[in-house]
């Protein structure tokens, strides 16, 4: 849009254009004066017409520019509000994604009470299973997935199905050390009924309070001691000496009982 703004609201040299009054000493002074007045009036009239026409043109141009400016302003406002909405959505998504990433496991962010309750659970999972779903008794909604540098397996992010009333979140990723396990890291505490009894065997470690020391057992799940006992039993049954000793002890017990 180009407008010529070099308007000439009032010709400053206009007075110079008016006919000069020559001094007259003749008898026809009145006629001459009338002629001058008439001429001056004509020129004034012409100038007035010119300025009026310029005035009209300026008014029209101003109206057009105002209209264009309003259109542009509306467009600007629309784009700005759209950008704000996009920015808010993106920030929310990023916040959701980074909540776990930005706060290393076991270190409290100190932001909220919920963040202080970070816990980790290990679930046995087939290597072929890439779903990253673990049976921990709660219903979850997946909201993101990413691959981290330290672990080639994707990391999935879940939100409790009771969200937003329940703010618990978890991330699930196959263990980098032992791929037969998936590691679920929980953040927050559920504010609704607990998990069902029929859940898989897990070991929960409180990483906030006691580092790697096992401290808590979830309802219906084995403790770390249970796992150790199982492992010991498994290794002992493979040991023929132990089996023989056990058999001897049992048979000795039977003999003792039959005597009494």
């Amino acid at each position: 849009m180009d407008y010529d703004l070099n308007t000439n609201p009032f010709d400053l040299h206009f007075s110079g254009k008016l006919p000069k009054r020559e001094p007259s000493d003749s008898g026809s002074e009145d006629v001459m004066r009338k002629w001058f007045v008439k001429d001056e009036t004509c020129m004034l009239q012409e100038e007035l017409t010119r300025v009026n026409s310029e005035n009209k043109k300026l008014t029209e141009t101003l109206a057009r520019v105002s209209e264009k400016y309003s259109e542009l302003q509306n467009l600007f406002k629309e784009l700005q509000s759209r950008e704000n909405v996009n920015f808010c959505n993106e920030r929310k998504r990023k916040q959701d994604r980074d909540e776990f990433v930005s706060s290393p496991i076991g270190i409290s962010c100190g932001g909220t009470v919920e963040k202080s309750t970070v816990s980790t659970a290990y679930f046995h999972a087939e290597k072929s299973d890439t779903s990253l779903t673990v049976k921990d008794g709660y219903q979850w909604r997946k909201y993101g997935q990413k691959i981290t540098r330290d672990n080639p397996s994707p990391r999935a992010y879940f939100r409790c199905s009771f969200s937003p009333s329940c703010l618990v979140k978890k991330k699930v990723q196959r263990s980098a050390e032992d791929p037969s396990f998936v590691v679920a890291t929980y953040e927050g505490t559920h504010n609704h009924p607990g998990p069902n009894a029929s859940v898989s065997r897990t070991v929960k470690l409180d990483l906030v309070q006691g580092g790697l020391e096992p401290v808590e057992e979830k309802k219906g799940r084995g403790t770390i001691q249970d796992v150790l006992v199982q492992q010991m039993a498994s290794s002992l049954t493979k040991d023929p000496k132990f089996t023989a000793a056990l058999a001897a002890a049992i048979s000795g017990r039977f003999i003792e009982q039959s005597r009494t």
Binding site: L5, F10, L44, L58, V65
Partner: protein, 39 residues
């Protein structure tokens, strides 16, 4: 005399013209600023 009336009218219209020119310049500048922001 009609000449004086004409001069008066001419002055009035010229003042209005000047005001319009200023407004137009202002509006045009604002329009260009907004356009630059959008680009």
């Amino acid at each position: 005399p009609p000449t004086n009336a004409l001069v008066e009218e001419l002055n009035r219209v010229s003042a209005e013209n000047k005001k319009l020119s200023e407004m137009l310049t202002l509006m045009y500048n604002n329009y260009n600023i907004l356009k630059k922001q959008l680009v």
